[in-house]
Symmetry: C2
Subunit: 418 residues, 2 copies
């Protein structure tokens, strides 16, 4: 029966553009923060599209959104595919949205073809992958995988003081009819399509990236405590200037982190107190994002970061909070082969590569055979309004995903209900 289902490239593309209206920035790009009003609008759109195809919407206590096509054997664990729909404050139209809507398109294609999969097939949009409003991110998938506790996650507050619990309550109240699934149900397999967010595929002229794994990541919150003083009177040698201590740390880290060409070191967020033009800064709080594919090196660099904070803080005090500590992980070999086979069948050039960015698939990998399908993004630009993927690549990613879902859900003569 497999093979009769086929995706609609036009519908998928127009839905990607439409979803971009929820949180649209002036000009281009989106700002669709997790559990925001814009996020609710995006849910509404996606639930409506799923319902047209007969998919049943549901949520869970973590605020994940599910859309399920029933299988012949409802007791079997579902095949799950998707990504997220929240964005960075100045995000693009594809990060997260592509994976979610490609999964919706593939499952819609199965339903429209009148195929009856043996297993349920579920589209997912994980809650707060980006972590820009509520940090750190990947909250929905980490809660699903039991890597963090509800109590811990629900207490996190955004810059305005709103907690995850409060924001999630508002989202759930906006959808009172939505079925509630238990948190962390069994999954047969997980596949996440995503834009690459780098330009390795583009440079190689490849259309489909077969993702071997995700590079490890550590994040830190560093607090530097100095002493407020009058900018016009306090002698320089007596100052405890928290912002100058930050500058020393930032430069020293930037130098010491340059160990090879795969390390990624970023200070993306920084707050100064009291942040007044003529007051010596008393407090600086900043975030470090460190990534490396080799776990040994990642650990050594993380240690070095903590040493540099201690070396450069004086005469200020400091505090180091470790937030994320995620080692590199590998994806399922069988699914990687299946991606290569599908791509070859359709004539898409593939490339094996490691994901430099973190994804919800990292959390699913220990739970079930998992994979990621990458498509190129122009110039490697992501987390930016200029983020862009070619319509042909978007269609290619969804086409390969459809093949994998058919096989995983028991619709292919090759794999059946393996």
């Amino acid at each position: 029966m497999a093979g009769r289902a086929s995706i609609s490239p036009e519908r998928l593309w127009s839905r990607l553009m439409e979803l971009g209206r929820d949180g649209a920035l002036p000009g281009k790009g989106v700002n669709r923060q997790a559990l925001s009003a814009e996020d609710i609008l995006a849910w509404r759109r996606i639930i409506a599209w799923g319902s047209e195809a007969g998919l049943k919407p549901a949520t869970d206590a973590a605020g994940n959104l599910f859309l399920t096509l029933d299988g012949k054997f409802p007791h079997l664990s579902p095949v799950v595919a998707g990504s997220h729909v929240d964005s960075q404050p100045t995000g693009g139209l594809f990060d997260g949205a592509f994976g979610t809507l490609a999964a919706l398109e593939a499952v819609t294609a199965i339903a429209e073809a009148g195929l009856a999969p043996e297993r349920p097939v579920t589209v997912v949009a994980w809650m707060n992958e980006e972590g820009s409003r509520f940090a750190p991110g990947m909250m929905g998938s980490e809660l699903f995988a039991g890597k963090r506790t509800m109590a811990e996650v629900m207490a996190v507050r955004d810059a305005a003081g709103v907690s995850v619990a409060e924001a999630l309550k508002a989202v759930h109240e906006a959808f009172p009819e939505l079925e509630r699934r238990p948190l962390g149900f069994p999954v047969h397999g997980y596949i996440e399509p995503h834009i690459e967010q780098a330009d390795v595929l583009e440079r190689a002229g490849a259309v489909i990236g077969v993702v071997s794994g995700i590079q490890g990541k550590k994040t830190y919150e560093i607090t530097i405590t100095g002493r407020e003083a009058h900018a016009g009177t306090e002698p320089m040698e007596r100052r405890q200037d928290a912002l100058q201590a930050f500058a020393r740390m930032a430069l020293h880290m930037q130098q010491d982190m340059a160990v090879d060409d795969v390390v990624k070191f970023t200070i993306g967020r920084l707050e100064v107190e009291p942040n007044a033009p003529s007051v010596v800064p008393a407090r600086v709080v900043f975030r470090i994002d460190l990534r490396h594919p080799e776990n040994g090196m990642l650990d050594r660099l993380g240690l070095r970061i903590e040493q540099i904070v201690a070396e450069e803080a004086s005469p200020c005090d400091f505090q180091v909070r470790r937030l994320v500590d995620a080692p590199s992980n590998g994806f399922d070999e069988g699914l990687q082969s299946a991606i290569r086979s599908s791509a070859a069948e359709h004539g898409y050039k593939t490339l094996d590569l490691l994901s430099a960015a973190g994804h919800d698939a990292r959390q699913m990998a220990p739970l079930a055979p998992s994979a990621m399908i990458f498509i190129p993004c122009r110039g490697g630009i992501s987390h930016h309004p200029d983020e862009w993927a070619e319509p042909a690549h978007v269609a290619a990613g969804a086409t390969v995903l459809l093949d994998l879902l058919l096989e995983q859900a028991g619709l292919s003569p090759k794999q059946g209900d393996a």
Copy 2:
């Protein structure tokens, strides 16, 4: 007749403590931003105290507050004394408030003694000296002195987007009965008492600082424009990281500004965009506050700052906005002598010194003979909730001010209506 008037140290001290309730921070200190609700409460208190002593309250188009004791010859230009009542976001009880309330106490003493000065004597609280809500500061005195235009100042907005015009309208509407004086009337002399905001007096064991002048000051707003990118994927060598460019500038400036032990160099305010943990910063806007008593050196250091911005920005773009450019100024020699004589008469040890901090008196000096009377502040700590002045020093400052006001207003046989 002079000499019969005398200040009440207890009343002055208790009013200083009471004024600290308007904008009181938890624990201690105040946050009383210019033209805020807290500022309105402070005005209300001061107007009430002035009215008890028969002083007439008035304001002007710049939002300055005046309290005037009539003179025998109302057509003569008034002697003016005071300071400001706005504070830094984490300010203390004395910066500005001491000068304003010491002036109120001295004029109240003249009124209570039944003395009839020849000239009017006016207490002033200048609008927005600190410049922390609306930057740069000294708005009220600069408008009074004609150094800036109303159009320019009224258009300045705070971080919440409120303009000076809007905030000032709210203040004036809170006091509909207040007489309006023309902006920038003639002044016979100006005397501003203030805490030193450094510890030169304290270390010398002096009680009264005879201020010879105010050190020059330049402020800049620097904008660094880089490019947003994904923290996990963008290769380090391709980044245009605005925050790393800032760190290079900050450190380079800190090194090059260390030319001697009187220079003051501060980066007090900094904003990062988009300020998200996993996005390479695209934009940093920061403020520089540079002070030096020698105008030639101040100009050279200012030039060096602009050079360093240009040297360290690459691969980011940059923009330099010059905000304040105030050369050093000297105060009236005759008034300095009068401060020394008064202090000697009362047995207060004096010290001649230069003000490292800027004050409204800088704007008044070109308009009329002007002076500043400093008193010690503990440990030199200012712009901080720990800011503190001894009750005896507060009383000493007001006592010397009273002597000067008596002379200036034509109540002393020595100076009369000179």
